[in-house]
């Protein structure tokens, strides 16, 4: 479904990603693991069109998407939950979600999607009319996910969905991601909770210093000494 091929990305003169190749198949949960500064966010920013690669390609459903503006990529069916939420602070919760529904395909079914998102996060329904800036940190995160779902994505990219969430909600978050998979949404997941994400994902890539250094089946990676030592504190 998503194919990244020999991708290189620079910030000015600094190279952040080196020859990244990876793929996400339809119906999978694929996790991306790496330390702070490894290039995870840069990679998903490149996939979602927020950062332009210096070479290499990104394809979605066999169509080349690198070089397309971010909003077109969303319309093609990729949505992105950025780290820290990045909601529109001066809009209400409902307006933020409507912003997610702007692709025509999604707009037509937005009433049903609202219902669906409110079922997942009843807190958003309660806060529907509040300005997003009055939400707590964890509620921001729920809103960012809700907004992403409003665009009816085929592939949803999560950059640290559990960021700032209380333990109880972290558990629910992982459950939510699994439910989304069951509803047919393909997931590309960046998450610092490495154990939990490898438990729910099918495959994973490990990124170090801007390069893919390990990849494979999650069951195997969970056994890998390197992964356990570097990312799970074991």
């Amino acid at each position: 479904m998503l194919e990244v091929c020999d991708l290189n990305t620079h910030y000015g003169k600094v190279q952040a990603l080196w020859d990244i190749s990876l793929e996400v198949n339809e119906g999978e949960i694929v996790a991306l693991v790496g330390s702070n500064g490894a290039g995870k966010t840069t990679l998903v920013n490149t996939i979602s069109g927020l950062v332009k690669p210096s070479s290499g390609s990104v394809s979605f459903l066999d169509k080349r998407i690198n070089g397309l503006p971010a909003h077109v990529i969303v319309e093609l069916g990729i949505s992105y939950v950025p780290q820290g939420g990045k909601v529109f602070p001066e809009m209400t919760v409902r307006e933020n979600m409507e912003m997610g529904a702007y692709p025509i395909r999604a707009w037509k079914q937005k009433d049903a999607t609202f219902e669906q998102v409110y079922r997942i996060f009843p807190r958003l329904k309660e806060r529907e009319k509040q300005l997003a800036r009055t939400l707590s940190g964890g509620e921001h995160q729920m809103l960012a996910i809700g907004r992403a779902l409003m665009s009816k994505p085929m592939l949803c990219i999560f950059d640290e969905p559990s960021y700032g969430l209380a333990p109880l909600l972290v558990k629910e978050m992982f459950q939510t991601i699994q439910n989304l998979k069951e509803q047919g949404i393909t997931i590309f997941l960046i998450e610092q909770n490495v154990r939990r994400s490898l438990e729910i994902a099918d495959r994973a890539y490990v990124l170090e210093n801007g390069r893919v250094c390990l990849q494979g089946d999650c069951v195997e990676l969970l056994q890998s000494d390197h992964v356990r030592k570097a990312y799970m504190g074991l």
Partner: protein
């Protein structure tokens, strides 16, 4: 005498009591954890202590002095600094200048530029950002921006430091490093009041933990007491 103390602290946002009649205290040299579900009022309480927000009622004392109603910069100069959950670094300013600004902001005295720069260098090294001194703060990863906030807050020479979720977004190995950083800060004699959702960290670094839910204090105790409190497990930790 407590270094930081609040009595009946209450804050309304419209009709919603974000913080409701909360009493709290922090002893000199303690590390106190503040936990609770999302939206419980934790960050609001930090906002009230640091005077970013004004309480509707209640008093907050710092070293016995009533600081309710003072301005944020006055509170900072008295020795109470904070970091922000949603980072508030000066994005276009080089990393080092963010910290230099903290040095000047924390004191009414004149500090020579070279001296401030030295101090900032030392603090960047302390938090592990010395290699990034000259880049604009916005080019740091979110996690590093939080460390920069810690350095900037330390630059104001606080006696009490409020840390708002500095460990969000870290993996287990990085959390261990962040815990060492917190212990190192305390070892310098700085009292710490911290919001964190990372239980492994909260349980092992904190001397005492306070739990908020719907704006009210629902529990307080040692990490052991909190981890086994039925109410806390129910509203916060989950089974």
């Amino acid at each position: 005498m407590f270094v930081l103390e609040g009595q009946g602290v209450t804050k309304y946002f419209g009709g919603l009591a974000a913080v409701s009649d909360v009493d709290f205290h922090v002893d000199q040299g303690e590390i106190v954890g503040l936990i609770g579900p999302n939206g419980a009022g934790k960050t609001t309480l930090f906002g009230l202590i640091s005077a970013a927000l004004v309480p509707n009622s209640g008093t907050i004392r710092f070293k016995g002095e009533n600081i309710t109603g003072l301005r944020p910069h006055q509170i900072c100069k008295k020795g109470l600094a904070r970091t922000f959950q949603s980072v508030k670094v000066f994005s276009d300013m080089p990393v080092i200048n963010n910290v230099v600004l903290g040095v000047h902001f924390g004191t009414s005295e004149r500090v020579k530029a070279a001296q401030a720069a030295n101090e900032a260098d030392r603090l960047l090294e302390f938090v592990g950002l010395s290699g990034r001194a000259m880049v604009p703060a916005k080019d740091l990863t979110l996690v590093n921006q939080k460390l920069l906030e810690v350095a900037r807050a330390l630059a104001t020479k606080p006696e009490v430091l409020l840390l708002d979720e500095i460990m969000a977004g870290l993996n287990s190995t990085e959390i261990t490093q962040a815990m060492e950083l917190v212990s190192k800060i305390r070892a310098q004699g700085i009292t710490i009041f911290m919001i964190e959702h990372v239980m492994k960290a909260i349980m092992s670094v904190c001397d005492r933990i306070m739990v908020l839910d719907h704006g009210k204090k629902i529990a307080e105790g040692t990490p052991q007491e909190i981890a086994t409190s039925k109410m806390v497990v129910e509203v916060y930790l989950g089974e």
